[in-house]
Amino acid sequence: MRQIFITLLLTTIIFGVKAQTGDNPAEVLDTIKTVSAADNQKAEKLYNQGIVQYQQGKYDEAVTKFDEAIKIKPNFAKAYFNRATCKAEQEKYAESISDYNMAILLDPAAKSYFSRGLVRYKMKDYTGAETDFKNAAASGTSTVKAQAFYYLGCVYFDGKKYEEAIKQYDKAIEAKPDYAYAFNDRGSAKRQLEKYQEALKDYRRAIQLNPQMAFTFNNMASVKKKLGDLEGAITDYTSAIELKPDYYIAYNNRGSVYMMKKEYNKALADFTKAISLKPDYAFAYNNRGNVKYKLKRYEDAIKDYNEAIKINPSYGYAYLNRGISKEMLRDESGACADWKKAYSLGIERAHSYVKAQCN
């Protein structure tokens, strides 16, 4: 009797106890989710390791990590994204695109469109790049927007659609008012449209924002050269060189301005420097030949033109110029041969020389 009573009591109590649930049912659920999360965080760990490898520049290893992460979690959008980035680094562009495609499918973020756009741009798929950048610009954060507009501008620039390019750079700047690159490139677009004063304004703004951009100084100098402000051009080329002492392009450009000012020795020095920095810079050889021509050192000039042609056998202007020096040495047949070659390479004015003097 007592036992039955006890059992009953116990049962009641137990049932009573059973009825008691925890204070936080949510937490209970949470822990179940947590348990499942804990179980499957292997993919995430591999993913993180992949990032470390990427940051160390070990792209093969990084890709492997991402591969594994994706194997475990086939919907791991971020892993696809990062693997795509690695492939782009490795210049495996087609594979990169395919990974970006997957990332976009799983998570169509502005960042992904942007990154895919970049790779398409590299692959010269301008239409595709355009579409991607437009998408990125439409939905991204202001940072992504700015970048997307900027690259869109560059795509148009490459396609010589300068008005369009400027519009995009405008938007890039609107999204990111201190976008030094955008100012530089917009300046370049305006320069292509021969709006030189406006170009200078943009270049100056770019420099204000980032005074380290040697190439902007170079671009400014070239515009000043076009405007006939030779002193200004020299100053800016010099600044470019100071910022980037191996800037052979700027040396070559500055040398040309010295030539225009008839300061032939300075021009010589600059072209020689350009050559020493980049021994296969055909332009510098050609230009140095021109200086020697002006100094009436015709044989020396021809030697330089020879070098230029050796580096680039299709360098039409070098043939033209060499012909002119040969003429001064009274080597009429040599001059004619060079002018005929120059014409065959597309230099129109050589044709008039041939017509006038060669049989």
Partner: protein, 687 residues
């Protein structure tokens, strides 16, 4: 007083004399003490020289030789130096002329009226235009109103020529000038060259010793003119010039005047007859026919020289100094009539002809372009070569061919090859063979521009190779601080699965976190214990002693799975339960608040089974003395009992005991083992 004045005067005289930069030594016996004999000779020489110098037709050559001899005796005579300078000037040796004239000037700048004028001309010829102009202005200033009239025009012309010279030298034409070389040129005058249309044969005039007859023209003091020719060899060089001999040449002057484009007909000037006339001869195979005069209309008693034919041979242009011209030699034109006779000569007019000398004419086969030499127009000195065109009955403005084609000296006899590429003319230059030489000009035309190439870095991203590639950031690994506790609950003896409830309590606040049930059939249970709490776990089953456990997850330890199978003991005498959730302060017997739950478990079971009598026992690890541990364990057990009593459990159901480290349930060698040994237990004494 007087002596003072005298001395002062003498001193002034002396100092005045000594202060001169050069001392003009006059030809006075007293200046050459001890050289009386030589002096006498020199005076004689000078007298002879003066005669030649001042004659109507001065013989500057001989006079010069004599003067030089006198000069070696006395080099510091201004007048002598001047005369020598003038002789050299007239002999066209301008460097020497300059030397002596300057010397004369330094000795006595007033030695001759013309000193500065001559010197200025020397500077002019030497391209020292500014110096010449300054001197000419100075010269003009020294002239009195009477003499000025004589020299005015000449001075102005000189100045203009100098100004022209400056301009032309500053903007040289692009030509390549080549001396025809020793095959053609000599130290004697070589000039008046004409080529045939294809530039393969060249005829010219020269006054050299191999002239036919070998004679010298007394007046001009030169060998007689003769015609010479040269051909281009296979390498394109001009062969050694040859003299074609008679009948082209004669003992007198024979000069080339013009050549037909095919080179088969030549026009020559012969000085023998009539003051100089123009003849023509044809090449019959290899022999020239006897030259025939062009007739009265062309040839007059006056001097006819240079001639050129129009491309259709119906007009002849020639130079003549007949008096009805503009002055000096002029250029005329005769047309052939239907009968083949030359018509009346017409002066080409004032557009071409000037009061000064015109010396040569060359007509281009295009019928409208002419080249002529003139000392007028804007010559830069002597004769210059000009280009003029005749279109629609009008002559264009004569165009100076520019420097270095034209020089400050005489540039004459310009002819051009039919293709217009090569011109031939005569000039006297410093680096020639001497006197006039023939040069070949190649007109290079406008300077050909060399093209420089440059590039820029227009686009920033391409220049800097910026990596925009973005990588997705690391994912937060949810550092799962979680323990999974799972296992099977069975009966200790039968090993059969027991249905049970598992209670989770947060010992810090004594709140029940959750209650689970195990699987009745299998006895399996699983509880998840998220980190951050100190858990008390109580497992209850019917008729069994409760099981309690402690899981402290207050420090994150990541993810752990723990399997714990639990055997429940039926409530029977002797059954023992370890009260894992009873905690004491270290070294003391004070119950910690976390013990609450466990104590409640005890109370519950004591209330459930009212007859239950239990013993609470305390146990320690083996750290410390036995005595200490025993005492502590006992005090602790008592503390529990006291608590139970305070909660209404009657004291007679409870006993307490301290066993110290006498009854370990695990090894004391490890911290985990020692922890297990430090425990409180209860034992069922009776039901």
């Amino acid at each position: 007083m007087k002596t003072k004045i005298l001395y002062t005067f003498l001193i002034l005289l002396f100092s005045g004399g000594l202060s001169l930069s050069g001392q003009n030594v006059s030809f006075e016996k007293s200046n050459f003490p001890g050289k009386e004999k030589l002096f006498k000779e020199v005076m004689k020489i000078m007298k002879s020289a003066d005669k030649l110098y001042s004659a109507d037709y001065p013989d500057y050559k001989t006079a010069l030789d004599l003067y030089l001899r006198a000069n070696s005796f006395n080099p510091n005579n201004a007048e002598l130096n001047f005369k020598i300078g003038k002789c050299y000037f007239e002999r066209k040796n301008f460097p020497k002329a300059t030397e002596y004239l300057e010397k004369a000037k330094s000795l006595d700048e007033h030695v001759d009226l013309e000193l500065n004028f001559l010197l200025a001309k020397c500077y002019h010829i030497d391209y020292k235009f500014d110096k010449a102009i300054d001197l000419l202005i100075k010269f003009r200033q020294t002239l009195d109103p009477q003499t000025i009239k004589e020299y005015e025009k000449a001075i102005e012309k000189e100045i203009n020529e100098c100004k022209t010279g400056k301009k032309l030298v500053a903007n040289p034409v692009r030509v390549y000038i080549k001396n025809l070389g020793p095959a053609v040129n000599t130290k004697y005058p070589d000039y008046s060259s004409v080529v045939n249309a294809d530039n393969s044969i060249l005829y010219f005039t020269s006054m050299r010793p191999s002239t036919t007859g070998g004679g010298i023209d007394e007046i001009r003091q030169q060998y007689f003119e003769d015609i010479y020719f040269t051909k281009k060899d296979s390498l394109g060089n001009w062969e050694k010039a040859k003299n074609p001999g008679k009948p082209l040449n004669s003992d007198n002057h024979d000069a080339v005047v013009g050549l037909s484009p095919d080179g088969q007909q030549i026009y020559i000037y012969k000085g023998e007859t009539n003051g100089g006339d123009i003849f023509t001869s044809k090449l019959d195979g290899k022999v020239w026919t006897k030259p025939v005069s062009l007739g009265k209309n062309v040839n007059t008693a006056y001097h006819e020289s240079s001639a050129s034919f129009s491309f259709d041979f119906l007009t002849i242009y020639f130079v003549s100094n007949r008096p009805d011209g503009y002055g000096g030699h002029d250029i005329y034109r005769c047309k052939k009539d239907e009968k083949g006779r030359w018509g009346v000569a017409e002066n080409l007019g004032g557009d071409i002809n000037t009061p000064f000398e015109e010396a040569s004419i060359f007509a281009l086969p295009d019928g409208k372009t002419f080249y002529f030499s003139s000392k007028g127009h804007n010559t830069m000195g002597g004769y210059d070569i000009f280009k003029i065109t005749y279109e629609d009955g009008k002559w264009s403005e004569p165009q100076n061919l520019g420097y270095p084609v034209n020089t400050t000296g005489d540039d004459v006899f310009f002819s051009i090859s039919a293709n217009g590429k090569y011109g031939y003319y005569s000039s006297r230059t410093k680096d020639g063979f001497g006197s006039l030489d023939i040069y070949e000009i190649t007109f290079l035309g406008k300077e050909k521009e060399v093209v420089t190439n440059n590039e820029d870095n227009l686009l920033a991203f391409r220049t800097e190779g910026v990596k925009e590639e973005v990588i997705e950031k690391k994912v937060e690994i949810q550092d799962v601080n979680l323990m999974i506790l799972k296992g099977t609950i069975t009966d200790e003896y039968t090993k059969e699965p027991l249905p049970a409830t598992i209670e989770l309590t947060d010992l810090t606040n004594n709140k029940i976190v959750a209650t689970f049930e195990n699987n009745k059939a299998t006895g399996k249970y699983l509880v998840s214990l998220p980190a951050g709490k100190n858990y008390g776990i109580t497992v209850n089953s019917e008729n069994c002693l409760f099981y309690s456990d402690n899981v402290n997850l207050t420090d994150k330890q990541g993810y752990k799975e723990v399997v714990k199978d639990i055997q429940l003991k039926k409530i029977a005498v002797g059954s023992k339960v370890v009260l894992k959730n009873i905690f004491f302060d270290s070294g003391k017997a004070t119950l910690k608040p976390e013990s609450q739950k466990e104590l409640e478990n005890l109370i519950n079971i004591l209330n459930e089974v009212k007859t239950l009598k239990i013993e609470i026992s305390g146990h320690t690890d083996n750290v410390g003395s036995a005595k200490f541990n025993k005492a502590l364990s006992e005090r602790r057990a008592k503390a529990v009992v006291d608590y139970l009593i305070s909660k209404g459990i009657s004291a007679d159901r409870l006993t307490y005991k301290g066993y110290g480290f006498d009854q370990p349930i695990a090894t004391n060698d490890t911290p985990e083992g020692r922890q297990q040994n430090r425990r409180t237990e209860f034992k069922v004494i009776s039901r």
